[in-house]
């Protein structure tokens, strides 16, 4: 157990040593000329101009959620496609097809639900 975990700990150790080494080295070797602008907190992008706690259109959230759902389904279908040849070879193709039909059927039910409940309307 401990032996098989050794490489993991080694990687962890090397990562820590490297990170610390670069921090210390840049401290020692780098020039230090602080200015007001340089010492402010760095964020990528434009600095916020007003409060960030604003209302945003809930549809963005809904659409993102639906996209994720139907996007991820492909991840499950893909390995099934790859394995389908082996199912054909040992005569379990009908079973595999049926299983995928159930999977897609449930997804379609979800799609119909989202559609009928107005989840796809941008109004």
């Amino acid at each position: 157990m401990a032996g098989s975990m050794l490489p993991v700990f080694m990687v962890l150790g090397i990562a820590v040593v490297f990170a610390l080494a670069f921090l210390v080295l840049s401290r020692i070797l780098g020039p230090h000329r602080p200015s007001a602008l340089k010492t402010t907190t760095y964020e990528c992008g434009v600095p916020p101009r007003s409060s960030t706690e604003i209302r945003f259109f809930v549809r963005f959230f809904l659409i993102a959620l639906l996209f994720l759902l139907f996007d991820l389904e492909a991840v499950f279908i893909y390995p099934w496609v790859v394995l389908y040849d082996t199912f054909l070879a040992d005569g379990r193709a009908a079973f595999a097809l049926g299983e995928m039909a159930v999977f897609v059927g449930v997804l379609v039910a979800g799609y119909v639900y989202a559609w009928k409940k107005g989840g796809l309307d941008w109004q």
Partner: protein, 500 residues
């Protein structure tokens, strides 16, 4: 890649039918909800009842339960599973009935309730039957995700939304603990099946620290779902914010499902949980009972009071689990294990009956004027106006307090008896002290109902189905209080199928 043989699936079809009926029924309800007009809502209730009754029939008249595992060791197919499936389906039926009476009167509830209720019930069934870490997680999440939405499912109610969000965030946190724990246990055992873990425990080799840390993390997640004290902080807010029929469902179904999974897991990892983690669990159980009962004394809202009471009851139930976990020790009769496991199973049924009854009455009285019958002072004079409803609530509360001749008394009697048999007398004393404290706040409601004149805030909802259901529950509670033997024997025999 392990091949899934078609033959084994067909052979198990009968045993899997209840799950398939509930899952298929849930999808059907989802479609029916989306495609039907808003005015035809009562059809959804009838369809829900049909699905649940179909699953009940498939469970009752299906093939006799066997010890063989279903789906290659993913689900257990023994009588233990059947016992809990019947309990969950019954709870869901009653919850749907309570809900439909409210839906007729208040438009702020969403009809998504019915499919979500059915999916949550499916999750509970899988959770109680899980014999693999994967199905355990799958069942837990199916149940939890549906319940998060159920909690927040009131249009325009800020408190419900807050409760739903709070439950979702904390629940996701607890799920993370569960996953981390499972990862460590998997790393130790080399497999996710309970059989792999049992094999590993028989060998008792390897790095025990890994196993103990994993079990500890998993216990955190279980403790969150059953609401044991340091992990109970969400309970009052969530129980208070959700609609009362949802609260009743959570207090009974979610708790019973989590206990079903916990008991199965305890039976599996008995030596390790009963040794290393036992002292901590014992302390938590005692703290839970004392703290929850003391805080419940100070509540003015009946839902918050019942929320704290449900935390306290989780503590009593943990006493039974502790007695079971102590069976690995020396000098104990072999009957202690099944007796304590059976006591917990009996307790869960009794507890479900009385909590459903209480929340049924709250639902019944509640939503006429857009708010629920929450303030205890609003129950003044109820005995005069609606004597039968008041009597049902009184029976449920007496049973929660553990006063004979009710099911709650017998349930406590069996659990504390098992604890004493396991030689844990101090724990039993703490339990009795805690339930003595609890008598005060249960009786307060009864005093208000029977001895105070009606005030200005009068709750007066009427719905014959809910009134009938709560009356039936009260009668069942009294029946189990007077003739508990049958269910007690059934519970013990059922638990033996798990212990082998």
């Amino acid at each position: 890649m392990p091949a899934v043989a078609d033959a084994s699936l067909t052979a198990q079809f009968g045993a899997l039918l209840p799950y398939l009926v509930v899952a298929g029924g849930g999808v059907l309800l989802l479609l029916a909800d989306a495609l039907s007009r808003a005015s035809r809502r009562d059809h959804l209730y009838l369809l829900t009842v049909a699905v649940l009754l179909g699953a009940l029939a498939a469970q009752l008249f299906g093939p006799a339960p066997e010890r063989t595992a279903l789906l290659r060791g993913m689900l257990g197919g023994e009588a233990y599973t059947q016992y809990f499936n019947l309990l969950f389906l019954g709870i869901a039926l009653l919850t749907a009935t309570f809900a439909t009476s409210v839906f007729e009167r208040a438009a702020r509830y969403r009809t998504d309730f019915y499919p979500l209720l059915v999916f949550a019930t499916l999750g509970m069934m899988i959770l109680a039957a899980a014999t693999d870490l994967l199905t355990l997680f799958l069942g837990l999440e199916t149940m939890s995700l549906a319940v998060y939405v159920l909690v927040g499912g009131q249009r325009g109610s800020l408190r419900a939304s807050e409760a739903g969000l709070k439950y979702l965030l904390l629940g996701a946190f607890a799920s993370a603990f569960l996953l981390f724990g499972m990862g460590l246990v998997y790393g130790w055992a080399g497999g996710t099946g309970y059989a792999d873990i049992a094999d590993g425990l028989r060998g008792a080799g390897g790095n025990l620290l890994l196993l103990r840390a994993g079990l500890g993390l998993m216990l955190v997640a279980f403790a969150f779902k059953i609401a044991i004290v340091p992990f109970h902080m969400w309970t009052p807010d969530v129980y208070d914010g959700a609609a009362s029929f949802v609260t009743g469902y959570m207090a009974t179904g979610v708790k019973a499902a989590a206990f079903a999974a916990l008991l199965r897991f305890c039976q599996l990892a008995l030596p390790e949980l009963g040794g290393f983690w036992w002292p901590l669990l014992a302390v938590l159980a005692v703290v839970t009972m004392i703290v929850a009962n003391l805080v419940a004394l100070a509540q003015d809202g009946i839902k918050r009071m019942l929320a704290w009471s449900s935390v306290a009851h989780a503590g009593y139930l943990m006493l039974g689990v502790l007695a079971l976990l102590a069976t690995g020790r020396q000098g104990l009769a072999a009957t202690v294990g099944p007796a304590s496991g059976g006591a917990v199973l009996f307790y869960l049924v009794a507890y479900s009956l009385m909590n459903l009854g209480a929340f049924g009455v709250i639902t019944l009285l509640g939503p006429d004027r857009g708010e629920e019958a929450d303030r205890i002072s609003g129950y003044a004079g109820l005995a005069r106006r609606q004597p039968l409803v008041a009597a049902s609530l009184a029976v449920c509360l007496l049973s929660l307090a553990g006063i004979p001749p009710t099911a709650g008394f017998m349930a406590k009697f069996y659990v504390f008896g098992a604890v004493v048999k396991a030689g844990l007398v101090p724990l039993a004393i703490w339990g009795v002290v805690a339930s003595l404290i609890s008598v005060y706040y249960y009786l307060r409601v009864i005093v208000v109902m029977y001895m105070q004149p009606a005030g200005e805030s009068i709750h007066d909802g009427r719905s014959w189905e809910t009134a009938f259901a709560t009356g039936l529950l009260a009668l069942l509670i009294l029946f189990l209080g007077v003739w508990p033997g049958g269910l007690q024997r059934l519970a013990e025999v059922t638990f033996r199928t798990l212990a082998g």
